[in-house]
């Protein structure tokens, strides 16, 4: 599955993923702690500039942000009419700052970098840390592995129903689909166990396997 990441050489691209996520979280907290319109305006401007300097294709951005921007506009108007225009300004600037900054980070960060950062954060956490990091990687791989499979299965079932001229009965799709998923879990689980799951992560990684 293709991610939203857009390759580039900007400063934001080159910063470490973990740092970006932490900075974004901090930014989010601070944004909600202040009510000063000037501060918020500066933050919003900064965030929008950050997004702008990535030089993203406008059509792409619009598709992702359309719903959010519409909702933002609605919220600003609702606040203006129901509460006050000062409040509307604060809400608008806050959301604009947050959404712009968050969107910029997403477009400038590879998914693999984020996962690696999460795994690195898990590893030092006690004895289960190494295993948790591995499991995270495995679970992610599995979901990416099976999204196209499930989509294919849905299409197959729909075609079968259409071929039979059956009326659109959602249950006749969901029930066999769910049963197939549950049975697949049995099979994949067996395959995983046969391959040697759970992993033995205590061995030194340079060791080569010798045939006895």
């Amino acid at each position: 599955m293709l991610s939203l990441y857009q390759p580039g050489q900007s400063l934001l691209h080159r910063l470490p993923a973990g740092g970006k996520l932490l900075a974004l979280s901090l930014f989010g907290v601070l944004i909600f702690l202040t009510r000063e319109p000037l501060v918020l305006a500066a933050a919003a401007l900064g965030a929008v500039l950050l997004l702008w300097h990535l030089r993203l294709p406008p059509a792409l951005l619009l598709r992702q942000l359309a719903v959010t921007l519409l909702l933002l506009a609605f919220l600003v108007i609702a606040n203006g009419l129901l509460v006050s225009w000062n409040e509307a300004l604060i809400v608008g600037l806050r959301l604009l700052a947050l959404v712009a900054a968050a969107t910029a980070v997403t477009y400038a960060t590879r998914p693999s970098e984020i996962i690696a950062a999460l795994q690195a954060a898990l590893r030092p956490l006690g004895p289960g840390g190494e295993k948790a990091a591995f499991t995270l990687g495995l679970v992610l791989a599995l979901v990416l592995r099976f999204i196209p499979e499930v989509l294919f299965r849905i299409r197959e079932l729909r075609e079968a129903m259409a071929a039979r001229g059956a009326p659109a009965a959602p249950l006749r799709l969901i029930v066999p689909l769910a049963i197939r998923l549950l049975r697949s879990a049995d099979e994949v689980g067996l395959a995983l166990e046969a391959r040697g799951f759970p992993p033995d992560l205590t061995r030194p990684s340079k060791e080569r396997i010798e045939v006895r």
Binding site: S184, A191, L201, I209
Partner: protein, 225 residues
């Protein structure tokens, strides 16, 4: 590699899947045949601990599958009949490397070994393909590569050619013949067993025949008539 079955019984939902089975498997090429529900898959899965005996025990080179299953699975690999469910990682190279990562190898090393293996097996062109885009036969070959990477001494095949077209069946058969490892195959594909050393015929959980392939197959064919 030697596998000992000592009075092994396996029951599920009141049914006897295997009834008091005692034997030793040591031959290089062993086949298991029988009707559906005869217990052949159960027998194969006892060999790597995916199924544990309810009574009795299974020893793989002296290792009890109930107690040392991790070590058993280091030495025994398995290829299943369901091609799409046994490929676990989204990209072929990653899936072949995965077995080594489960053994503690680093990602980089595992991928290097996987590349070497895929080249050797003439499957390198599949390396960057997604698992979903592979045909059933390609999946089965990749699944075999993913098992071979940890160099198991014994490989179990559970109805490996069931879902394959003729071309891929032939290709798998050729691969099987060339394998240096010991092989136990559960199958309906009787031609697969031509040059095997020993074939077991099961019927309703009982071992009905145990001997050379030609006779076992003849006996089975007669019983099915």
């Amino acid at each position: 590699m030697r596998i000992d079955f000592q009075q092994v019984c396996v029951t599920r939902d009141g049914r006897n899947l295997l009834d008091s089975l005692s034997l030793s498997l040591e031959e290089r090429r062993i086949g298991i045949i029988g009707a559906n529900g005869s217990g052949k898959t159960t027998l194969a899965r006892l060999c790597n601990g995916l199924v544990l005996p309810d009574t009795g025990r299974v020893l793989v080179e002296g290792l009890d599958t109930r107690k040392e299953v991790a070590e058993v699975r280091r030495r025994v690999g398995m290829v299943f009949q369901f091609p799409e469910a046994q490929i676990i990682q989204p990209i072929v190279l990653e899936d072949v490397a995965f077995g080594l990562q489960l053994r503690g190898f680093s990602g980089k090393q595992a991928r290097a070994e996987a590349e070497e293996l895929l080249r050797r097996l003439d499957l390198w062109e599949l390396a960057e393909r997604t698992a979903h885009s592979l045909s059933g036969g390609e999946r089965q070959l990749v699944a075999l590569a993913a098992v071979l990477i940890t160099k198991p001494e014994l490989i179990l095949f559970d109805e490996p050619t069931n879902q394959l077209d003729l071309r891929h069946r032939n290709r798998l058969r050729a691969r099987l013949r060339a394998l240096p490892a010991q092989v136990i195959v559960v199958t309906h594909d009787l031609e697969l067993l031509d040059d095997f050393d020993r074939v077991l015929l099961l019927d309703e959980g009982q071992l009905v025949f145990d001997g050379p392939p030609a006779q076992a197959v003849a006996r089975y064919v007669a019983a099915c008539a």
